[in-house]
């Protein structure tokens, strides 16, 4: 018989191939993914779990006998699980994320950024929990190491359980905004021959480290492992200035500022790409 998983009232109901039925209270159930499986967990500890491999997704149906795909099962689980273990009770899944820390760790007075260090993660370079490679490093190469042979930097602070952002190195010569977009779109690094683009201004700003000792916002490891990015002053973003469409937003790495620049002027760029994460394989 087909295996069933569906929502009924405040529960997820599952019926497996042996006709074993289970109820997962929606307000007490979380799900996550690892090694190509979905894992439902009821409660915090000492409760049963249900694990469904990605490959098995299509063998499950909903209460209308409609078969799932891996994607629709993921959507179902995301919409019908999630609880608040810290407060014990909102019943609502996290819909956002705390903003990342700026990495200002020197305090100049009570109540300033360096005093409060508000934000997500242990620090700017250290995640609060392990990335798929089992380390807490925010930045790794695409193999989870610190080698950066391909000059690709993966930023695990952007990992949502499915995709993660990775950045390439900069060319050293400036270009106009149009050429920067064209060049970013045609970027090819190793086996990652497509999918690159010019980052938007949010994606560029997320890399700025307010704890650098100098005035260059990218002059920190592992960016210093790349050939050019950390010694380039201005980066184009793909974001047009909303009130002056002949201009685009730029990141001024040498002063850690954001400004506007006429699109026909020249600046540098770094390409960005969304990598799909399956276990420890990035595609």
């Amino acid at each position: 018989m087909a295996k069933e998983i569906y929502k009924s009232g405040n529960y997820i109901v599952t019926v497996d191939a042996d006709d074993n039925s289970r109820l997962f209270p929606i307000g007490k159930t979380v799900y996550d993914e690892y090694n190509s499986v979905f894992r439902l967990t009821e409660g915090l500890i000492e409760d049963d779990q249900l694990i469904i491999s990605y490959a098995d997704s299509t063998n499950w149906v909903d209460d209308s006998a409609v078969a799932y795909t891996e994607a629709t099962l993921r959507t179902f689980l995301r919409e019908n699980t999630g609880f608040n273990p810290a407060s014990g009770g909102s019943g609502a899944a996290p819909i956002g994320a705390d903003l990342m820390k700026t990495n200002q760790t020197v305090s100049y007075r009570t109540g300033d950024d360096g005093d409060l260090e508000k934000g997500r993660a242990t620090d700017f370079l250290t995640l609060a929990s392990a990335n798929p490679f089992g380390t807490t490093e925010r930045f790794t190469d695409e193999l989870g190491g610190q080698t950066y042979t391909n000059q690709i930097i993966i930023d695990w602070s952007t990992y949502n359980g499915t995709t993660v952002l990775g950045y390439g190195d900069s060319a050293f010569s400036g270009t106009t905004w149009d050429v920067a977009i064209d060049n970013a779109l045609s970027t090819s690094i190793g086996t990652y021959t497509s999918g690159w683009r010019l980052p938007n201004i949010n994606e560029l700003w997320s890399l700025m480290n307010m704890g650098v000792s100098g005035n260059k916002g990218l002059e920190y490891y592992p960016w210093t492992e790349l050939t050019y990015a950390y010694i380039v002053s201005n980066f184009w973003s793909s974001t047009t200035t909303p009130y002056a469409t002949t201009q685009a937003m730029i990141l001024k790495s040498f002063t850690i500022e954001i400004d506007n620049k006429t699109k026909t002027q020249t600046a540098n760029y770094i390409p960005v790409r969304e990598f799909t994460v399956t276990g420890t394989t990035l595609t």
């Binding site: 491999s53 300033d112 997500r120 929990s129 392990a130 064209d182 949010n202 500022e257």
Partner: protein
């Protein structure tokens, strides 16, 4: 070989979950060419104002007041894009008064709105940049609802952050609402503030 379906006893909670989050969209939705921000609209959520799933009040609105509505009687603007399951950021209104950086921090720390009499502070530069909407029609990137309800804040040209420069410590960063810029200036200059607070979420009660 992964087993197709099986039950196991949990060892502990939490392992293997996501360690981060996709960055929010910039808000720009107009495209000027293939491959630009307005074309790709990369980022989290349905759009700048709409969450991909419900906030604890059962709506997909990114911004609400502390009661989950769009009334904003106490001029507190909750940003559910920052909700981590436990806490969420809320921005307060401020008068149109300007302060030097030290006074800005003191004023924010002493801020009190309704029953939320403590816990306010000056936002860091990431928290200021976070509410810039690059899809506005004018030149003020915080001039969108609900921040248009603010007396100061979204109506101000420059808003202090709590972040000093690491390489020039007599300066601090500010958000330039009127240009979308992030810049720095001397601590002695006087600008506006938009206090921020971490709210703890229990069900639909924010404390």
């Amino acid at each position: 070989m992964v087993q197709e379906t099986y039950y196991i006893k949990a060892q502990a909670s939490g392992g293997g979950g996501s360690v981060g989050a996709t960055l929010m969209k910039s808000g720009l939705t107009t495209s000027y060419r293939t491959g630009d921000d307005g074309d790709i609209e990369a980022g989290r959520a349905t759009d700048f104002f709409t969450l991909a799933s419900n906030n604890p009040f059962g709506t997909t609105e990114r911004f609400t007041d502390v009661l989950g509505t769009q009334v904003y009687s106490d001029k507190i603007f909750i940003d559910w894009s920052t909700y981590d399951g436990t806490t969420v950021l809320g921005y307060g209104d401020a008068t149109f008064l300007t302060y030097n950086w030290n006074d800005a921090i003191d004023t924010a720390l002493a801020w009190s709105v309704g029953s939320f009499t403590s816990g306010w502070r000056l936002p860091n530069i990431n928290e200021m940049f976070n509410i810039f909407n690059h899809g506005v029609t004018g030149n003020k990137l915080i001039a969108y609802f609900p921040f248009t309800l603010q007396t100061g804040g979204g109506q101000s040209s420059i808003l202090w952050s709590s972040t000093r420069l690491s390489f020039s410590t007599t300066n601090a960063y500010y958000a330039q609402n009127f240009t979308g810029g992030i810049r720095y200036t001397s601590l002695t200059n006087t600008y506006n503030i938009c206090p921020v607070r971490d709210f703890t979420v229990n069900g639909t009660t924010l404390t």
